[in-house]
Subunit: 214 residues, 2 copies
C-alpha cells in the first residue's frame, strides 16, 4: 500500500528545512537543491509542492510568519504584561539560528514588497498582526498598572516593532549592533522608559509627580 | 574648443537624477534609460561613468550616503543638542521625495549587503558614520544637561538609528506607519523619554497638566 502523505504537513516540513538552510547559508544558499540535499527528499518531490526557487522562498516567508504568530499566541496565553511584551518583541531578533532565518527571510521580502504590490499587501498583514500582539501585551501591562493608561498603545506598538526590526536589520550588517542585542536588551531598556513605576525608571516625567508633591 | 567636463561633478549629477527617478518610480523604475530620458544625457554618456545598471545604483547608494553625511555635518554646525539629534535622526525618514529615495536605495542595498561581504563592509561604514553623528549630538545634549550624563550615548545611538530605520522601512510597506511618521514625531517622543528636564517632556501624558489644574 502506498504511504498516505499529509500534503500540508509535508509542505511545512519542506519550509522548515528551508529555514534551517537560510539560517546556515543565508538567502543565497537557499536553493531547491540545498533543501533536497538536507532533507533527503528529491528535487522532484520538492518541485511537486513549490514551483521554482522563488515560490519555495515565499513558502519560507509564510512559514516564518506562521512561526511568529504561533509564538505570539503562545506568549500571550502563558505570560503577562511586560514579560509578554518583551517576548513578542524579541520573537524575530536574530539571536539564534531560527530567528536569524526569520530575520533574513523577512528583510529579503520586505525589500521585494517595496516593488510588488501584491506582496506588499501580504507583508503588511504580517506587520499588522505583529503590532496587534504587541498592543495586546501593552494593554495587559496597562491593566496591571505597569504602563500608564493614557499611552496610545497602537502608536507605541508601531514604534516598538520598528525599533526591534531596525536593530535586527542593522545587526545583520554590523557586528557591533549584534553585540548590543546579545549583551543587553535594548527592548527592555525602552519599555522601561514607558513604565510608571519609579523603581523601573529614571525620572523621565518628573513634571506630574513634582507638581503634585511640590 | 571642446567643453571641459568636470567628471566628478557629472557623476554626481547623474546620481542625483537617479535619486529623483528612485523617488518617483521606485527601484524598479531606476534604469539607465530612465536616467537618460530625465537628464537629457544619452545612455552612452551615462555608460561612460557607470558600467551597467547595478553600478549606477551603487553610485546612487554612495551619493545617498554622501548627502546624509553632508546633512549631518551641516546640522552639527548649525544646531545644538536635542534639535541636532532630531534632525540627524530624521535625515532619511521618507517624508519627502529626496528622503524617500534615500530610504529606498539604502534598504535595497542593506538586503544585498546581507549576501555580499564587500558591500556589507561598505554599508557598515555608513551605519557607523550615522551613529557617530548621533552620538555627537547626544554628547552635546548631555553637556547641555538635556540628557542624563550617565547614559551610554554610543549604545543609545544604536537604538535610535535602529528605531528610525525600522520605522522608515515599515512606512514603505504600511501606510499606517507612514501616517504616524507624518502626523507625529516618534523620534521626538522617544528622545524625550531620555531627557531629564521636565520642560522638555511633552505631556504625552496629560496627567501632569490634569493633576496640576484639577
Amino acid at each position: 500500500m502506498p504511504r498516505i502523505v499529509n500534503h500540508d504537513e509535508r509542505r511545512r516540513q519542506i519550509c522548515d528545512v528551508l529555514l534551517d538552510v537560510v539560517a546556515e547559508s543565508g538567502m543565497t544558499g537557499a536553493t531547491i537543491r540545498a533543501v533536497a540535499e538536507r532533507s533527503g527528499w528529491s528535487t522532484g518531490v520538492i518541485g511537486h509542492y513549490f514551483h521554482g526557487r522563488q515560490d519555495l522562498l515565499l513558502g519560507g516567508l509564510r512559514r516564518a510568519a506562521e512561526i511568529l504568530a504561533e509564538h505570539n499566541t503562545r506568549v500571550l496565553t502563558t505570560l503577562d504584561g511586560l514579560q509578554a511584551l518583551e517576548q513578542i518583541l524579541e520573537g524575530s531578533v536574530p539571536l539564534d539560528g531560527r530567528r536569524l532565518a526569520l530575520s533574513r527571510i523577512f528583510f529579503f521580502f520586505f525589500v521585494e514588497a517595496m516593488t510588488d504590490e501584491e506582496l506588499r499587501r501580504e507583508v503588511e498583514t504580517y506587520l499588522v498582526g505583529w503590532r496587534k500582539s504587541v498592543a495586546r501585551a501593552l494593554r495587559r501591562a496597562q491593566e496591571n498598572g505597569d504602563i500608564p493608561a493614557n499611552i496610545d498603545r497602537r502608536e507605541i506598538a508601531k514604534d516598538l516593532v520598528g525599533l526591534v526590526d531596525g536593530l535586527s536589520m542593522h545587526a545583520l550588517l554590523d557586528e557591533d549592533v549584534m553585540a548590543r542585542l546579545r549583551e543587553q536588551s535594548p527592548v527592555r531598556f525602552w519599555i522601561r522608559r514607558l513604565t510608571t513605576r519609579s523603581d523601573n525608571v529614571v525620572p523621565l516625567q518628573p513634571s506630574g509627580e513634582t507638581r503634585a508633591t511640590g
